[in-house]
């Protein structure tokens, strides 16, 4: 609201679309599942600590998947862990997003060749919205990924697929 403060003479009305408000509210309070897998999790912690302060984006780490909007897969997903990651994803409420942080969860990272117990990319088990490259990505990179995710949320539409709409009308 910084841009709008002190801009009006008296109390006022802002006209916007429902979609715009809802999406704006959602993108400013994306709650993150606090769940770290490996080295990248340390950078994720650093991002939420004093220097980088990811909380100014409205990010609140929540331990329970039921309360979260975003899962940051921060680290190496092993085969043993993969089924658990999938279950956690399924436990999250819709709409849900996944940020894959670090080379390991993007594609296996340094363990792609000889890692007999490493899943080569978390997108083999769950869908991913944003990939953040790096080993480990700097906290700034995670913030950038976060802003990309916000863009994605902003473009979310409540309107049914327009092509579908016409067909429904035609049927009616």
């Amino acid at each position: 609201m910084g841009l709008l403060s002190q801009q009006f003479d008296n109390s006022n009305i802002v006209i916007t679309s429902v979609e715009g408000v809802l999406n704006w509210a959602r993108l400013c309070s994306l709650w993150q599942m606090s769940f770290g897998l490996a080295c990248c999790a340390i950078e994720m912690m650093a991002a939420s600590a004093s220097h980088y302060d990811i909380m100014r984006f409205g990010v609140l780490p929540r331990p329970s998947p039921r309360q979260c909007d975003v899962m940051i897969v921060a680290g190496t997903v092993t085969l043993k862990m993969a089924t658990r990651v999938k279950r956690l994803y399924e436990q999250m409420a819709e709409p849900r997003y996944v940020v894959s942080m670090g080379s390991c969860s993007n594609c296996g990272g340094p363990y792609w060749e000889h890692g007999y117990h490493v899943l080569k990319g978390v997108d083999r088990v769950i869908p991913v919205d944003v990939y953040v490259p790096g080993c480990p990505p700097r906290p700034e990179a995670l913030l950038e990924g976060w802003m990309r995710l916000q863009e994605k949320v902003r473009d979310f539409t409540l309107v049914k697929d327009s092509s579908k709409q016409t067909t429904e009308k035609q049927v009616a």
Partner: protein, 389 residues
């Protein structure tokens, strides 16, 4: 009621059944996604009401096949994987590995390299302890110290970043040398950091360590008697917290640690029983001060010289084997390397301090409450990357 509970807990802890009323046992799963398991550890708890009867740990959720990678890579290529093993103490891990290969190949490292290595290793130790202290506080419910600790840790990471370009995983200590020399003004930065850092220790002490609530949560919880600690092979702050005066930097000196004046910190049980969570925690806090002392002396004695003169062109040790151990922030980190004269190691086995320290969890938490278990886990300070490798 309170007394009955206490008696039941004592019963369970000692393993003697004196006929106290017990209820049905319940199995509860903790992890792998649990905010206080510090990663992906899964504990299967057998509970009697709120009291822990038994713990069955399940590891391997972060098993990244380090040993297989080491067999497939050449000796210098293994170093980045060492970084990733204990990602909070990457410098110490590299140091241990480089040392092992140097001993295998009989390489004499220049003085300047030794000094820089010690400075880096001690800075890393402070950084690692800061994370341990911060997250331990957070597990118990104190969020603010975490921010203080991470603030100061960032300064250390800045120094590392200026030196070698990376924040977390450095690949800085190479076999026979270093990847880069330190930058101009490094000494000044380090001294400045230490000057700014000492007040933080006091701050954390005031805020957390001598806080009544905190002491109540940690004192006499998770007591590890010294003989049990030794039999379990514990090391580092875990063992020193139990009053065993053992530090590899002094007792099995490597690099140039024998040139510095510093003290080995041991727990004294001043808050409760010897070897409880508070003792282990305080060993870490006080050790940071000792690390500062070592760094100051090393900076004062830092000689000039070339850092890359001993880096071998080809790393190909003769057939043989070696076990080298160094003091990592979590304890004794051992590398057992077998060479068969080729460019790749034949076998690299890592004795990870976290792995060994974690194995006491069942023994020291019988009879505690589930809430205390969180404190115990936090005070062991595990890094799952090295537990599972």
């Amino acid at each position: 009621m309170q007394e009955e509970l206490l008696e039941l807990r004592e019963d369970i802890a000692s393993g003697i059944d004196s006929g106290k009323l017990r209820t049905d046992e319940m199995v509860l799963n903790m992890g792998p996604q649990h905010p206080s398991t510090h990663g992906v550890l899964r504990l299967e708890l057998v509970l009697d009401g709120e009291v822990v009867v038994k713990i069955i740990p399940h590891l391997g959720y972060l098993h990244r096949c380090f040993e297989k990678h080491a067999e497939a890579m050449t000796y210098p290529q293994v170093i980045p994987y060492c970084d990733r093993m204990d990602y909070l103490a990457a410098m110490n891990n590299d140091h241990g590995y480089a040392l092992a290969v140097e001993r295998l190949m009989d390489i004499q490292v220049p003085e300047r390299v030794e000094y820089i290595r010690v400075i880096m290793a001690e800075l890393q130790r402070i950084a690692s302890h800061l994370v341990a202290i911060g997250t331990f506080g957070m597990d118990i419910g104190a969020f603010t110290p975490f921010l203080y600790c991470f603030r100061d840790r960032e300064f250390i990471l800045d120094i590392f970043e200026k030196t070698c370009g990376a924040r977390l995983l450095y690949n800085y200590i190479w076999i026979g040398g270093l990847s880069h020399d330190v930058y101009d003004g490094f000494e000044k930065d380090v001294m400045q950091f230490i000057k700014a850092f000492r007040p933080t220790i006091t701050e954390v002490n005031n805020l957390l360590n001598y806080n009544k609530v905190f002491i109540e949560r940690c004192a006499s919880i998770g007591v590890l008697p010294p003989d049990v600690g030794i039999s379990f092979g514990c090391s580092g702050p875990m063992l020193r917290g139990s009053g065993v005066d053992f530090d590899l930097r002094r007792d099995d000196p490597y690099s140039i640690y024998d040139r510095f004046e510093w003290d080995v910190i041991v727990g004294d049980g001043s808050a409760g029983t010897l070897g409880d969570c508070w003792d282990r925690h305080m060993v870490r806090v006080k050790e940071m001060e000792e690390s500062c002392k070592i760094i100051e002396q090393a900076i004062a004695g830092l000689p000039e010289g070339d850092i890359s003169e001993a880096i071998p062109k080809r790393v190909r040790p003769l057939a043989g084997e070696i076990y080298t151990r160094v003091e990592n922030p979590r304890g004794e980190l051992g590398y057992y390397i077998i060479s068969d004269g080729k460019g790749n190691p034949f076998r690299v086995k890592v004795r990870a301090p976290g792995f060994v320290n974690l194995s006491v969890i069942d023994a020291i938490s019988r009879g505690c409450l589930v809430a205390d278990l969180v404190a115990i886990l936090g005070s062991i300070d595990i890094v799952l990357g090295e537990v599972d490798r």
